[in-house]
C-alpha cells in the first residue's frame, strides 16, 4: 500500500506543496546529473584545464587592453637608454619593469603588444585552415569512395610539403607582412583538421541516428549540418586549439628567421631574433619573450588537452 515511489504524488496530508522539491528527487538528480551538469563538473574537476584557461584568459585580456596596460609606447626609441636591465637587476630601473631593448624601447610594452601579434596570427590562421580542413575532411568522410580517395590524396600531397620551407619561400618571394604570414599559414596548416574531421565524419555517418534521419527523408545538407556536425564539432575545437599553438610557434620561427612579421612590429619571435646580438651580456633580452611565447603556447596546448578530456573522458589515454 505504502509505495514510496507514489508517496509524493498521492494527494493527502503528507503531500509536498508545489514548488518545494522532494528531497529524494534531489538525491536522484545528484546520482544522475544532466549532460550540462556533468560537463560543468568535469570542467571544474579538471584543474589543469582551469589553470590553462585562466592563463590564456589573462593573456587575451593583456592583448586587448594593451594600450591601457603598456607603461610606454612600444615603438618609441631612446638610444640614450639602450639595454636597461629589468627592474629585478641591480642596475634596473623602476621606469622599465622588463628593461629596454637594443633601441631603448620599453620591453614590457613590447611584450604586451607582442601578445596581440601572436594571438592574431594564431587565431586567424587557425580559422582559415579550420574552414579549409573541415570542408575537405567532412566531404571526404561523408561521401567516401572516389571523393574520399581524391581528398586523401590531396592531404598526403600537402603533408609531404615541408611547411617551414614553403612558408619561408613564399613569404620571401612575395614580400613579408603580417597578413601574408596569416594567409600562408592558414593555407598550409589544414591537414590535421582534414584528417580528424574525415574520420570523425565517417564514424558519425555510420550511426543509427543518421540512418534514421536519412530514412525520414532528410536532405544531405540537413544530415551534415544538423545530424553529423553537432556530434563532431568537439573534435574541431580540439584540433583548433592545437593549430592555434602551432601557428603561433611557426610565426615566431618565421619572424626569428627574418621572414615573418617585420620590424618594428613587436612580435615575440622577432624580439628573440633582435636579442641574439646581446646573448652574451644581456641574456634576459631573449629569455623574456621566449618565456612569454612558451607560456602562451603551453596554456593553449593544455586547454586543448583539457577540452579533449572533458568532451571524451573515456579516451584520455
Amino acid at each position: 500500500m505504502d509505495d514510496p515511489a507514489n508517496r509524493s504524488r498521492t494527494p493527502g496530508l503528507f503531500a509536498l506543496p508545489r514548488g518545494i522539491s522532494d528531497p529524494r528527487l534531489d538525491a536522484a538528480r545528484i546520482l544522475a546529473p544532466g549532460p550540462f551538469a556533468r560537463a560543468t563538473r568535469r570542467v571544474l574537476g579538471n584543474s589543469s584545464f582551469l589553470i590553462a584557461g585562466t592563463i590564456f584568459g589573462l593573456i587575451v585580456l593583456m592583448a586587448l587592453l594593451a594600450p591601457i596596460l603598456a607603461p610606454h609606447d612600444p615603438y618609441i626609441q631612446n638610444l640614450n637608454n639602450r639595454l636597461v636591465p629589468p627592474a629585478w637587476y641591480d642596475a634596473g630601473s623602476r621606469m622599465h619593469a622588463f628593461g629596454t631593448d637594443g633601441m631603448g624601447r620599453d620591453y614590457l610594452a613590447r611584450v604586451i603588444y607582442g601578445a596581440q601579434v601572436s594571438l592574431m596570427i594564431g587565431v586567424s590562421s587557425a580559422l582559415i585552415s579550420g574552414i579549409i580542413g573541415s570542408l575537405l575532411g567532412v566531404t571526404a568522410g561523408y561521401f567516401g569512395g572516389r571523393v574520399d580517395m581524391v581528398i586523401s590524396f590531396i592531404i598526403t600531397t600537402r603533408l609531404s610539403l615541408p611547411v617551414i620551407l614553403v612558408a619561408l619561400a613564399v613569404v620571401a618571394f612575395v614580400g613579408a607582412s603580417l597578413t601574408l604570414v596569416i594567409v600562408v599559414l592558414g593555407l598550409l596548416l589544414w591537414d590535421r583538421y582534414a584528417v580528424v574531421m574525415r574520420s570523425a565524419t565517417m564514424q558519425a555517418r555510420s550511426m543509427d541516428y543518421v540512418a534514421a534521419a536519412s530514412a525520414i527523408g532528410a536532405s544531405t545538407p540537413r544530415l551534415v549540418f544538423s545530424e553529423i556536425m553537432p556530434n563532431i564539432v568537439n573534435n574541431l575545437i580540439i584540433v583548433a586549439t592545437f593549430e592555434v599553438a602551432n601557428a603561433i610557434l611557426l610565426e615566431a620561427a618565421l619572424s626569428f628567421l627574418g621572414l615573418g612579421v617585420q620590424p618594428p612590429t613587436p612580435s615575440w619571435g622577432l624580439m628573440i631574433s633582435e636579442g641574439r646580438n646581446y646573448l652574451l651580456f644581456d641574456p634576459w633580452v631573449i629569455v623574456i619573450p621566449g618565456l612569454a611565447l612558451s607560456i602562451l603556447v603551453l596554456s593553449v596546448n593544455m586547454l586543448g588537452d583539457g577540452l579533449r578530456d572533458i568532451s571524451a573522458p573515456e579516451n584520455r589515454n
Binding site: T157, L159, L161, L165, N317
Partner: protein, 305 residues
Amino acid sequence: MLKFTLQRFFVALLVAITVSLVAFSLLRLTGDLATSLAGADATAEDIAAVRKSYGLDKPLLIQYYNWLAGALSGDFGKSYYFPATVWELIGNAMPITLTLAGLGLLFSLVIGIPLGVVAALRPGSWIDRVAMALAVIGQAIPNFWFGLMMIVLFGLILAWFPISGNQTWLHFVMPSFVLGYSSAPAVMRLTRSGMLEVLSADYIRTAYAKGLSPYRVLFKHALRNAVIPVVALASVQFGNMLTGSIVTETVFSMNGLGYLAWMSISRQDFPVVQAILLLGAMFYVWLTFASDLINAWLDPRIRVG
C-alpha cells in the same frame, strides 16, 4: 605483401609527381623571377635578356618538363649565386643535415620510448605525471629559443660545447639535442598509450600466467607491439627534422641543408630552393612509403586491412 607493396608504391609515385609540380609552380607563380634577378635598376631589355638566358621565356609546362627531366638524372642546374651546380652545394650540405637529423631522431627515441614505457607501467603515478608534464612543456617551448638558451648555458656560461659550426662531433651535440627534444614528447605519448593498450591485452595476461619473467613479457611481448605506431611516427619525425633543421642550423650556424635553404631563399637563389624543396618532399614521401612497408611487415593485419 607484393600487392600491398605495389599499391603503396603507386600512390607514393603519384604523390611524388604531384608534389614536384606543386613545388615547381609554387615558386614560379609567387613572383617574376627575371625582374628580381636582373636587379633593381635593370632596364626592360636587361630583364628580357635575363629571361632568355635563364630559359624563363619558355612556357611553364616546358620549363617544368626540363627541370624534372634534369632532376631525375641528378641535374638540378646551376646556382644563381655561386659558381657551382646545385647538386654540388646540396651534396656538401646533405651529410651534415642527415647526421644532425639521425642523431636528433636517436635522442628523441632514447628519451621518448623509456619515458613512455615507465609512464605506462604506473599510470597515474608521480613518474607518469612528471613524464606527461615534461611532454606538455617540451611541446610548448619553441626550439629556436631552446637552442639559444642552450647556447647561453652550455656554450657560454659552462663552455662545455662549441656554439657554432660543424667541425667536430662536439658541435653536433647541442643542435641534435634541440632537434630531438621537440619530437620526444610525441614519441613518449605514443609509446605510453601503445603500452597501456597492449598491457591490458589478454595475451599479456597469458604470458604472465604461464610464468614468463616480467622482463620477457615487457620487452618481447608488450613493447614489440606497442612500438609499431612509433615506427611510423619516427619516420615522419625524421622528415620533420630535415625541415626543422632550417631553424636549428641557423641558430647554430651549421652548413647543412636547412641553412643552405634559408640563405638561398634570402639571396633568391631559385634553383637551390626548388631542389631542396623537392628533396624534402621526396624524403617525406619515400620515408612514409618505407614506414608503411615496415609496419605491414611487423603487423600482418595491416597488409589485409
